[in-house]
Subunit: 183 residues, 2 copies
């Protein structure tokens, strides 16, 4: 997921991978204008939307993990807050409007250079559907959640913590790291 | 802080800002190879290091806010966890080794397209110094913290929450958003 760079996005000259003076990691540096191009991790934001004790999940229509179930989530955009992104992604992927609750989880996904941040949420009116990146969406009671078909370890973690907290009255933020899984 | 792009980093042709099909935000798209170049927010990670009831702060030697005091913090690197970044930045900026504690704060800094994440920490041996981005570093008792000279609103927020929690036994994660400040 880390973009390889061949040409300088400022001047169009070729770049090479070198450690800049005072730095300790290789960066793409322009042979022409000298610009140092940094690439950094991305933030994925989502929520666990609840309606009448059931959880809204979306079956992915895009890779990776097309056909597997996830919570509504996607990349944080520039000039957006985490909360705005969680609500926007739920609109886009599940055609659903949510009241956002507290932050649920912060998950290091270092192998993908990502951090996943999930919130608690409830549907505002029980309406939902399937956006263009979603095959179908559906509400699942806890005992019906399709655990073997959950798309990503971070989503499994968020769902597990959400359900535990619902039983125990927990409202805090859970922090963890997940490893790459061979599918 | 959002990089402007003129040339495609894959093929070197010119790019233009357009909304891709199925998207709703303008992206830099290559006129030659069609690559869509996404730019997304960055994550800044830091910690509040304590030693014998005092807090370690660093006087910044670089812009923005050179000469103002901050906690050790910097950009999360690819393939790094938040915890690894917080410890690395403390080494780099304050030449200090920390035992990292729980997550303290998640701060939306949407105007800069950043999310700041801070941890609680304690120095492992009380040793510290000034890295190349730091003029000097020093331990401050609560009553001596130079509040008017704190570099950023997110740092002020993290310090305030840290000190409140220390008084009240709080160990949770605080979530907020800060606005742009005119200095």
């Amino acid at each position: 997921m880390i973009a390889r760079m061949k040409y300088c996005s400022h001047c169009g000259e070729t770049v090479s991978l070198k450690i800049p003076p005072g730095d300790n990691l290789p960066r793409f540096i322009c042979e022409g204008c000298g610009t140092i191009h940094y690439t950094n991790p991305n933030i994925v934001v989502g929520c666990v939307p609840e309606w009448e004790n059931r959880i809204l999940l979306c079956k992915r229509a895009i890779e990776p993990r097309s056909g597997y179930w996830t919570i509504p989530a996607g990349f944080l955009e520039n000039r957006e807050t985490l909360e705005e992104a969680a609500m926007r992604e739920t609109h886009e992927e599940a055609l659903a409007s949510v009241n956002l609750g507290s932050m649920l989880a912060v998950v290091n996904v270092a192998h993908a250079s990502q951090v996943h941040i999930m919130f608690r949420a409830s549907l505002t009116d029980g309406k939902f559907g399937a956006g263009i990146e979603t095959m179908e969406s559906a509400l699942f009671a806890e005992e019906d959640i399709p655990w073997p078909l959950i798309a990503f370890p971070s989503v499994r973690y968020a769902l597990e913590r959400y359900l535990d907290d619902r039983r125990n009255g927990g409202t805090g933020v859970h922090v963890t790291a997940v490893e790459r899984i061979k599918y």
